[in-house]
Amino acid sequence: MASSALELLLADGRTPTGGFAHSGGLEAAGLTAPEVPHFLRARLRTVGLIDASVAARAAAGDDPLELDDAWAARTPVPALRDAGRRLGRALLRLGLRLWPDSPLDSYAAASATTPRPVVLGLAGRAAGMEPIAAARLSLYDDAATVTSAAPKLLAVDALDTAAWLAGVAPLIDALAARAAALGPTDPLPAPSTPLLDRRAHAHHTEDRRLFVS
């Protein structure tokens, strides 16, 4: 039986999984404050949906090593693949502590890349979550990474950024349902985001960066 408190634990930014060093592409995007809610939605519909679909399939029990490759194929920027893998390794440290006897253990030994969405799906599975819960966590984390970095990057009240996050809640629910509706033989979504990708690529080589990604 899944515990919803465990879901909250995985969603909580205070749980030590390295998220504080990331901005979800916000620093790279170089936006003004009013543009951020649009950026949030665009991200959720594209990279957010890819990650959520991978997390949902991992939670449903698909082969995680195949999902590693499927995720990498949909994440064309090397710096973003690297960031996703670092975040995945951090989450894996937590997962191995909380669920030492779960498939996370053999995955940690077998996966060369450990992207976060796959690790999140496996952690959700270990915690007894449904695929839709793993997808929702993935989407929520994507949006919350952006909104919690925003007050550090822009002249904006953190209450406003919390309101932005609340504003995308219906979109998160809808996309989570879409991700969870995928069956094992359905192709994973593969939207592309060339502008975000170019900016992420350029961001990586900038020398006055606050965030990893």
């Binding site: 205070r14 030590p16 999984t17 390295g18 504080f20 060093a21 990331h22 901005s23 670092r86 390794r89 951090a90 440290r93 970095a149 550090k152 900038e206 020398d207 006055r208 960066r209 606050l210 965030f211 990893v212």
Partner: protein
């Protein structure tokens, strides 16, 4: 006999902004790199400023020096969520290892920032004379309980009107026998003294005797009036 530890000794270097953490890391690498395999992880405010400084010093191969971004949270990165730093240390050891010591320099922060025992096996807290000679008296976990307290830039103490003697004696009052070294990193003998201390910590690590002594995130409560530490339960509430 205990087996040689599988991983490098992790030495944390923390302390307020500009006190000489990077300079100390560079000096230690210079003093120890002939005999030991070293690596450095820096925690920078902006990207890799400190890592670039260290690379420019030419004391280590550039690939032995890696930077971690902390999203404006230098304190979090060494204390409540050490994931990024641990990954950096592990990645460095995997790529360049085996290493004997990895120095982890924290981003310059305030007096309450110390390393989690999950990240540092032993830690150095660096103050300087220019930051005011009353800082050791103010205390805090790093000042009081870091494995080594370094009071740096004593060469400029006369210029900034700081009393090194007072700083050292205030530190000694607080540190219950833990070592405090006044240094000028421009004086080779002072660097040798810190390097010798690091060698001692490495020997303890290799012997399996080094258990990280966490200085803790908070200072024990001090009343200004009587200046005694209170370890007993307080009957009244404090708001800090």
């Amino acid at each position: 006999m205990s087996a040689e530890p599988e991983r490098a000794l992790r030495v944390g270097i923390a302390g307020p902004v500009g006190t000489g953490k990077s300079s100390l890391a560079a000096a230690l690498c210079g003093a120890l790199s002939d005999e030991l395999r070293l690596g450095v992880v820096t925690n920078d405010i902006y990207t890799d400023e400190d890592a670039r400084f260290l690379r420019s010093q030419g004391v280590l191969a550039p690939e032995r020096i890696v930077a971690v971004q902390t999203g404006c949270c230098p304190h979090t990165a060494i204390r409540d969520d050490v994931s990024e730093n641990l990954l950096a240390v592990e990645t460095l050891e995997a790529a360049e290892g085996p290493l004997d010591i990895v120095f982890v320099e924290s981003g310059g922060d305030n007096l309450t920032a110390t390393f989690s025992p999950a990240l540092a096996d032993t830690q150095i807290f660096v103050l300087d004379c220019a930051g005011g000679d009353d800082v050791p008296r103010k205390g805090g976990p790093g000042v009081e309980r870091a494995d080594l307290l370094v009071i740096n830039k004593i060469d400029i103490a006369p210029l900034v009107g700081a009393s090194v003697e007072r700083m050292v004696s205030d530190a000694n009052d607080r540190r219950e026998g833990r070592p405090t070294f006044p240094t000028s990193l421009r004086a080779p003998d002072d660097v040798v003294r810190v390097a010798d201390w690091v060698r001692g910590e490495l020997a303890r690590h290799r012997a399996g005797e080094l258990v990280p002594a966490d200085p803790g995130p908070m200072a024990p409560h001090v009343h200004a009036a009587d200046d005694h530490h209170h370890d007993h339960e307080h009957s009244h509430a404090h708001t800090h």
